[in-house]
Amino acid sequence: SAVISQKPSRDICQRGTSLTIQCQVDSQVTMMFWYRQQPGQSLTLIATANQGSEATYESGFVIDKFPISRPNLTFSTLTVSNMSPEDSSIYLCSAETSEKTQYFGPGTRLLVL
């Protein structure tokens, strides 16, 4: 298994600002992912964070809005840029183990005013 931590756990931000969310895994993993989850809804994949190369974004998500870093095999960051109230959501990171099982962090609850 993998244990994943995220920082911050929650934040309240002003529109037009940016927030960087950190994700730390307790072991080296090949694949890390970032998701968004609106209250009461399922998870939507934002992007795959690739170590040593640019992230792979899903349809509807772009690098300028959600830049991602993956400097090593245990850490990744997601930045939510130029925020608007529509970006209020829960952001989750996950990591895939060698058994192809994804484990999730506790999430970051973001409120944009």
Binding site: S42, Q102, F104
Partner: protein, 113 residues
């Protein structure tokens, strides 16, 4: 991408066995199936993962028929603390290390005393 369908909600009583089915009609040969449990304000927690036939661990069983177009999560003797949302995930390994990930819409299980 595999499209997944789950019941929106289910009710059960303490001590009963609960079966939650996820339909994934266009699942591909290399896709694997994972189930998660999510409590409010927490990240999804891994329950069980399988590719075909039956998998059992200390908390649940996963039944996958030969055509793999559905999967059933079985929770034996549920308790009040099993009240949560349950998600199925179909993950496809694409070329290289890419993943196509499709979460179901989630099933709210309510366990009654």
């Amino acid at each position: 991408l595999a499209k997944t369908t789950q019941p929106i909600s289910m009710d059960s009583y303490e001590g009963q066995e609960v079966n939650i089915t996820c339909s994934h009609n266009n699942i591909a040969t290399n896709d694997y199936i994972t189930w998660y449990q999510q409590f409010p304000s927490q990240g999804p927690r891994f329950i069980i993962q399988g590719y075909k036939t039956k998998v059992t661990n200390e908390v649940a069983s996963l039944f996958i028929p030969a055509d793999r177009k559905s999967s059933t999560l079985s929770l034996p003797r549920v308790s009040l603390s099993d009240t949560a949302v349950y998600y199925c995930l179909v993950a496809r390994v694409s070329s290289g290390s890419a993943r196509q990930l499709t979460f179901g819409s989630g099933t709210q299980l309510t366990v009654l005393p």
